[in-house]
C-alpha cells in the first residue's frame, strides 16, 4: 500500500463507514415512515371515497353518510381564522420589521414566539373562557378565532422575515423621493415581499386546517350543515376524530376516507408552496 497505515487505521475506517451507513439508514427509515403512512391513508381511504361521501352529512350507522358538512365547516372555519389571523399576523410582522424600535420590538417578538409554542389545546381553553362561556354556547366564531390565534405568530414571523429580506435600497429609493414611511411600506416593501408573505400564509392555513384540539370545545362539532356562525359547526378534523373513536367498523372506514381528503388538501398546499419557493431561491 502507499502510505504507512498505522494499527487502528482499519478500525477507524470501518467505524467511519459503519456510522455513515447508519445515518443513511436513519434517513431511509424516516422517508419510509412517511411513505408507509401516506400509503395506508391512500389504500384504506380510497375504498369509501365517492361523491356521496363528499356531499352528504353524517348519517346513523348503516346508512352511509359523509363529510360534506365537515368540509364546508372546515372551509368556514378557515375563512374566519384567516380573516382574523392573517391581517393581525401581517400587521405584527410589519411592526416587527418596519416600525418597532429594537428594545420594544424584542419584547414583542419574544411574546409572539411564546405564542408559537403554546399547545393548541391551551389556546382552545382560553377561547372557551373568553368567547364560549360568555356566549353560553359553542360557535363557529369561537373556533375560527381560536384557529386565527394559532395563525398569528406563524404569519407574523414569516412576514417579518420576508420583509427583512427586501433590500434597504428599495426603501431608501422611495423615501428619497419624499414618500412617507407608510406609503413606502404599504406601496413598495409589502408588494416586494408579497409572494413570500403569501407562501407563509398558505403554510399557516395548511397548518391550521389540521388542528383538532382547539376546536373540541370552541366549534365543538355538528351533524348538520352550517346555517349560522353563531352555532357549533362541524370540521373535517373533529369528524375524523369522532369517526375513528367510534366502535363501528363502517365509521372507521369513513375516518380513513376523510383522512385521505384532509391529507390531499394539506399535502397539496405544502407541495405548491415548495414549488413556488424553489423558483425564488
Amino acid at each position: 500500500m502507499n502510505f504507512v497505515a498505522v494499527r487502528g487505521d482499519r478500525t477507524r475506517r470501518i467505524s467511519s463507514a459503519l456510522m455513515t451507513s447508519l445515518t443513511a439508514l436513519c434517513t431511509l427509515l424516516a422517508v419510509g415512515a412517511l411513505f408507509i403512512i401516506l400509503a395506508y391513508i391512500a389504500l384504506k381511504g380510497i375504498g369509501s371515497l365517492n361523491f356521496q361521501f363528499l356531499v352528504d352529512r353524517p348519517r346513523p350507522v348503516g346508512e352511509g353518510g359523509g363529510i360534506g358538512n365537515a368540509i364546508i365547516g372546515s372551509l368556514v372555519l378557515l375563512a374566519i381564522s384567516s380573516a382574523f389571523g392573517l391581517p393581525i399576523g401581517i400587521a405584527v410582522g410589519v411592526y416587527l420589521s418596519e416600525v418597532g424600535k429594537s428594545r420594544l420590538a424584542s419584547i414583542v417578538r419574544f411574546i409572539v414566539d411564546t405564542l408559537t409554542g403554546i399547545p393548541s389545546i391551551v389556546t382552545g381553553v382560553f377561547i372557551y373562557a373568553i368567547l364560549v362561556l360568555p356566549m353560553k354556547h359553542f360557535s363557529a366564531i369561537a373556533g375560527g378565532v381560536a384557529l386565527g390565534l394559532i395563525m398569528v405568530p406563524i404569519v407574523g414571523r414569516t412576514t417579518e422575515e420576508m420583509l427583512k429580506l427586501v433590500p434597504h435600497s428599495l426603501r431608501e429609493g422611495a423615501l428619497a423621493l419624499g414618500a412617507p414611511q407608510w406609503r413606502v411600506t404599504l406601496g413598495v416593501v409589502l408588494p416586494a415581499a408579497a409572494s413570500g408573505i403569501a407562501t407563509g400564509a398558505m403554510l399557516a392555513i395548511a397548518r391550521v386546517s389540521g388542528e383538532t384540539a382547539p376546536l373540541l370545545f370552541t366549534a365543538f362539532g355538528s351533524r348538520f350543515f352550517p346555517t349560522s356562525l353563531n352555532e357549533p359547526i362541524a370540521s373535517l378534523t373533529v369528524q375524523i376524530y369522532n369517526y375513528a373513536l367510534s366502535p363501528y367498523d363502517e365509521w372507521h372506514a369513513l375516518a380513513w376516507a376523510a383522512t385521505l381528503v384532509l391529507m390531499t388538501l394539506i399535502l397539496g398546499i405544502n407541495i405548491v408552496v415548495r414549488v413556488l419557493t424553489r423558483r425564488k431561491f
Binding site: Y95, V152, L262
Partner: protein
C-alpha cells in the same frame, strides 16, 4: 397633499412628531395602528395567563400544591390530583425523545455532511413533510395500524425478552404508554432534525477542513462538527421536548386515557393535554372545570419554560442564518 403636509417643519411638541419621527400624519397613524395591533397580541398572551390563572383559582384554593402530587383523579368524588397526568406527559415525552433523538441526529448528519446536494434538498423536504401531517391523522394511523402491529409483533417479543423488568409487564393491548411514545417520536423527529440541520450548516467549513487535514476520517470529522454544534443540538432536543409535551390528538387516541401510574410501558396512561381534550366538555361542575383549567395552566407554564430555554440555545447558534422560522 393637505396643507398640513406642506409644512416642512413640524414642531417637537406636535402630535405628529411625537407619534412618528418624520412628523408625517399618515406615518403617525400607520405607526400607531401597527404598534397597537402588536400590543394587542401581547395583551392576548398576557390575557391568556390571567384567564388560565383566574379560572383555576377554585382548584388551586381547594388542592394547593397537593394538586401536583395527588394521585387520584376522581371527578365523581371531586378529588383531583394531577400526578398521573404529569407522569404520563413526562414519560411519553421521554420515550419519544429517547427514540427520536438518535434518528433525528442521523438524518441531519446524513443530509448535511453526506448527501450530495441534489439529494439533500428533496429528501429534506420529504422528511419535513412528516411535520405537516396533522396530529389527528397520526392518531388514526396509530389506532388502526401502529397499535395492532405493536400488539401482535413487537410487544410480545419485548415481554419475552424483558418481562422480568417492571417496564414490560402486564396485559398487552397495543394501546398504552409505549405506543404514545412511539407516535410522539415520529411526530417530533422532523422538527428536531430540521433544527439540527440548521445548526450543522452553521458550523464553519474551516472546522471540517481542520479535522480532515489532521487525518480524520469522515466520521471523526463529523464528530468535530457535532462538538461545534452541541449547544444548538441541545436546543433542538429541548424544542422537540416542548412539542411533545403539548401534543394532544395523536396521544389521546393511542395512550389509553387511564389516570393511573404504572411503570409498565404496555399499560395505558394519560397526559395533561389528553385529559383536557377528553374531559373538558364533560366537566359538569365548576371544580372539575377549574381542575382541568389548572392542568392547562401547568401545561402552559411548562411549555413556556421549555420553549424559552430551547430558543436561547438555538438562537445563539443559528443567528446568522436566521433560522428561527423553523420553530413556527
Amino acid at each position: 397633499m393637505s396643507a398640513a403636509t406642506n409644512k416642512l417643519t413640524v414642531g417637537p411638541g406636535d402630535w405628529r412628531r411625537i407619534l412618528s419621527p418624520t412628523g408625517n400624519p399618515g406615518d403617525a397613524v400607520f405607526r400607531v395602528s401597527m404598534t397597537a395591533i402588536a400590543f394587542f397580541v401581547v395583551a392576548i398572551v398576557i390575557g391568556m395567563v390571567i384567564i388560565l390563572g383566574a379560572d383555576s383559582v377554585l382548584s388551586i384554593r381547594q388542592f394547593g400544591w397537593g394538586f401536583l402530587t395527588g394521585r387520584q383523579w376522581n371527578p365523581i368524588r371531586g378529588e383531583f390530583g394531577a400526578l398521573p397526568f404529569i407522569y404520563g406527559t413526562v414519560m411519553s415525552s421521554l420515550i419519544a425523545l429517547l427514540i427520536s433523538v438518535p434518528f433525528s441526529l442521523g438524518i441531519a448528519i446524513f443530509l448535511v455532511e453526506q448527501a450530495p446536494r441534489y439529494l439533500a434538498k428533496p429528501v429534506g423536504f420529504v422528511v419535513e413533510l412528516l411535520a405537516a401531517i396533522p396530529s389527528v391523522v397520526y392518531g388514526v394511523w396509530g389506532i388502526f395500524v401502529l397499535a395492532p402491529f405493536l400488539r401482535v409483533h413487537i410487544e410480545p417479543r419485548l415481554a419475552a425478552l424483558f418481562g422480568w423488568t417492571p417496564f414490560f409487564q402486564g396485559q398487552i393491548t397495543g394501546i398504552g404508554l409505549l405506543t404514545g411514545g412511539i407516535i410522539l417520536a415520529i411526530m417530533v423527529t422532523p422538527i428536531i432534525s430540521a433544527v439540527v440541520r440548521d445548526v450543522l450548516t452553521a458550523v464553519p467549513g474551516s472546522q471540517r477542513e481542520a479535522a480532515l487535514a489532521l487525518g480524520a476520517t469522515k466520521w471523526e470529522m463529523i464528530r468535530v462538527v457535532l462538538v461545534n454544534g452541541a449547544p444548538g443540538i441541545a436546543g433542538a432536543v429541548i424544542l422537540g421536548l416542548g412539542r411533545a409535551l403539548g401534543e394532544t390528538m395523536a396521544v389521546t387516541m393511542v395512550i389509553g386515557n387511564r389516570p393511573e401510574i404504572s411503570l409498565s410501558l404496555f399499560a395505558p396512561s394519560y397526559t395533561i393535554a389528553s385529559a383536557i381534550a377528553n374531559e373538558f366538555t364533560e366537566a359538569t361542575d365548576n371544580l372539575y372545570l377549574s381542575a382541568l383549567v389548572e392542568l392547562g395552566l401547568i401545561l402552559f407554564l411548562v411549555t413556556f419554560i421549555v420553549n424559552g430555554l430551547a430558543r436561547i440555545l438555538v438562537w445563539n447558534v443559528t443567528r446568522k442564518s436566521g433560522g428561527l422560522s423553523r420553530t413556527a
